[in-house]
Every structure is written in structure tokens, then in C-alpha cells.
Symmetry: C2
Subunit: 222 residues, 2 copies
């Protein structure tokens, strides 16, 4: 499968790119508004993986071209760029492309980070609203610590939660999620349940801040 990471030069994009490129045979397409930057990141990620004696298939493109070529398009961009990014690639998407939303709206104060969703109730719901009707949307990969994800020496041993209104698309993302070593995907229901999933992200960051021995905190359900 071809997996595009729009904003794949950023931190969560880097982690997902490295994990999929290293742990699976999927083709990873790094997308950026600046194709030069995308190609640079793709080369860097490839070097990281080849330095471990492994092979990978990673290429860089502008966001539109990456989206056009991909079976799965992950919106690995900050929450305030999600809407614009969907608009910019909308005519490259169709019912065969799964659009994946990992972003979370947060705002911080002296106490910690707080969940701060857009008016749609969640970023995932915003993506579903913005995307062409026929494009299936899945919320996933919200609660992964970026630094741990991008460190191939670190055992993940965490869960990710999936929300979607389209079962086939959810199954597809479930599959590629679990192909990453140490990542388990759980079903959290339809997109209407996305807010409770997204709000775990500020929570794990707060836990890392307030517990001395915890860093890059992840979550597991049992």
C-alpha cells in the first residue's frame, strides 16, 4: 500500500514514516507544502533506516502529489492547518483513499495542556466535514508520543484508538496500525466519539509533566 504523510516533515509525521518504512513493506510518501523539504526529509528517514541495515521505500512530494498517489493519506499537520490541508488536496482524494486524522486541538496555561477542539467537536469531525462526501475519514494515531515514535530503538508497547463512520476504512487503518511493532489498534466507535479519544493527548502530556519518572507517555487499555 502507499501511505502519504502530509506534513511528514514534522514530528508525528517523522515517527509514523520511520515506523511504517522500517516495520512494513508499504511505500511511504512524505508530503509537504515545499516538495524540496519533503525530499530532504525522505532522504533523512531513508538514511536512518539504512543505517540500521534495513531497506525502505520513502519518497518526498508536495502534499498534492503525495495525496494523489496514496491509498491512505495521513494529515500529520498541526490542528490549525488541518482544514486548509484538506482543502488543498480535496480533488486528489476519492472513495478509495482513506483520509486519516491524528491532530488534536490543545491550549496550554500554567497548569498544563487542555483539550481545545474546533467548533465541530473534534478535529476528526472537522476533517469529515471538510473532506469530499465520498472520502472515508478515520481518526487515529492521536495519543502517540512523537519522540518515542521516531526513536526506532524504543519499544512502543502502546495502544492507538480508531474512530470512523466507515467500517472498511477503519479496518484498513487498523491493519496498517498493527503492522507497526508494539502498536495495538482499538475501536472507539464512530467519529461522534472522537473528542474523548483526542482529549487523551493533553492528558498524557500532563502526566509526563507531573510525574518525574515518566517521559513520552503512552496509553494502554486492559
Amino acid at each position: 500500500m502507499r501511505i502519504a504523510l502530509l506534513g511528514g516533515t514534522g514530528d508525528i509525521g517523522e515517527g509514523l514514516a520511520l515506523r511504517w518504512a522500517h516495520d512494513t513493506d508499504h511505500e511511504v510518501l512524505i508530503g509537504s507544502r515545499d516538495p524540496e523539504k519533503a525530499r530532504d526529509s525522505a532522504s533523512e528517514y531513508l538514511e536512518t533506516i539504512e543505517a540500521r541495515g534495513a531497506e525502505a521505500n520513502i519518497k518526498g512530494f508536495d502534499n498534492e502529489m503525495a495525496a494523489d498517489r496514496a491509498d491512505i493519506v495521513v494529515l500529520a499537520v498541526p490542528p490549525y492547518h488541518v482544514g486548509d490541508t484538506v482543502d488543498s488536496v480535496a480533488d486528489k482524494l476519492d472513495s478509495d483513499t482513506v483520509l486519516v486524522s491524528p491532530a488534536v486541538g490543545m491550549k496550554g496555561d500554567e497548569d498544563g495542556l487542555h483539550y481545545h477542539p474546533p467548533g465541530t467537536g473534534s478535529v476528526t469531525a472537522l476533517v469529515a466535514q471538510k473532506a469530499p462526501d465520498e472520502v472515508p475519514v478515520v481518526g487515529a494515531f492521536h495519543n502517540l508520543a512523537a519522540a518515542k515514535l521516531a526513536n526506532l530503538d524504543a519499544d512502543l508497547d502502546v495502544d492507538t484508538l480508531l474512530v470512523s463512520d466507515v467500517d472498511d476504512a477503519k479496518t484498513t487503518v487498523h491493519q496498517v496500525a498493527e503492522e507497526i511493532d508494539g502498536l495495538r489498534a482499538l475501536d472507539a466507535g464512530p467519529i461522534a466519539n472522537a473528542a474523548e479519544v483526542e482529549s487523551v493527548t493533553p492528558l498524557v502530556i500532563n502526566i509526563a509533566r507531573y510525574n518525574d519518572d515518566m517521559h513520552d507517555v503512552g496509553v494502554q487499555f486492559n
Copy 2:
């Protein structure tokens, strides 16, 4: 220590009562608006523990008397009774009593449960607002599956998250939480961070609903 569970005849109250009575030497006071009901539940819990060949110290009282005698007062009542319950015991509380809030406001629809906090932003913040100024408030025990908690044969193996603006009180609750076998307490910061903690409760219930092999879902952070 004396730990009162107001609403201790209900499901989360039962679980905490059984665990503290079984796993520790603390005196457990079951509170209810109806003292007769409280005494019945206390006898029941005691029988459950004695049937396992263990000893325990559990007694039933009306909520006011339970609160008056306790060092720690847990508001194990539904979210819509939390405000009234605090009012009803307010003059029995002082700076030496730690008031603990485990309740979570939720509303359900066909998709699942959704976090539905009061206007104060969280039930814990509501308790802090309602309680006399000198009474330290701690949010804790939100995300525990009641049926698993009340089943002494079940290994808990879960985390609970603490929020408070008073460090000493948080330390006290941390201690009695971790005296329950298989329960780890983590610090999630001040009460301003309570919403992200409370909203894990509808999430774990949604996960139990949408994953066939999961029941009484708990959470762990790593």
C-alpha cells in the same frame, strides 16, 4: 485512617469499600442518605470479605455522620447528586478532611457515551467550588470499572489519576490509592486539569462497547 464512602451503597462505592477493607487496615465508613441502607451494605461487604477468610472494619452511617468521623471523604455518588451531597455534609468537613471526587458527568446517545461536564468545567472543579474553602479537594478514582473493582478475584492492574491544588491532600490520596493491590496512582496536576482526566471514563466505556474481547476496561500509562 478512616475513609468514608458517601453513596457507598452504589457500584463504585462498593468496589472502593471492598478493596480498602480487604487490602488495608483502614476503617471504612459506608455513608448513605438512608443509614439503614448503609448498615445493610456494610454488613454485606463484611460478609464478602469474611467469606474469603479475611478481616475488615466496615460500618454504615448516614452521610453526615460518616463524613464527620472520616479523615478522607469520597463522594461516590452520581454526578447530579455531587453538589447536594457536598452541601449536606459541608459543616462536618474541615481542613483535616480530604474530600475526594470520583464522579464524571456523561451523556449517552446511539454512538456511545460522551463527556458532559458541569459548567465549572469538571465535577472535581464543582466539588472544589461547593466545598468550604479550607477543605482540600482531590479528584481521583474516575476511570475504574466498578464491576472489576468490586470483584476481589479480579487483578486490577490499572492506573488512577489524581488532580488537586493541595499537595498534602494529593499525597494522602496517593497513599491510600496505592494501598489497593494492583492500583497505581499518577499525578495529573491541579484541578484545572480534571476535565481531561474525567473524560477517560466515557472513553473506556466506549472501548468496552466496540471491542468484543474487552470488558470492564481500565487504563494504564507507560
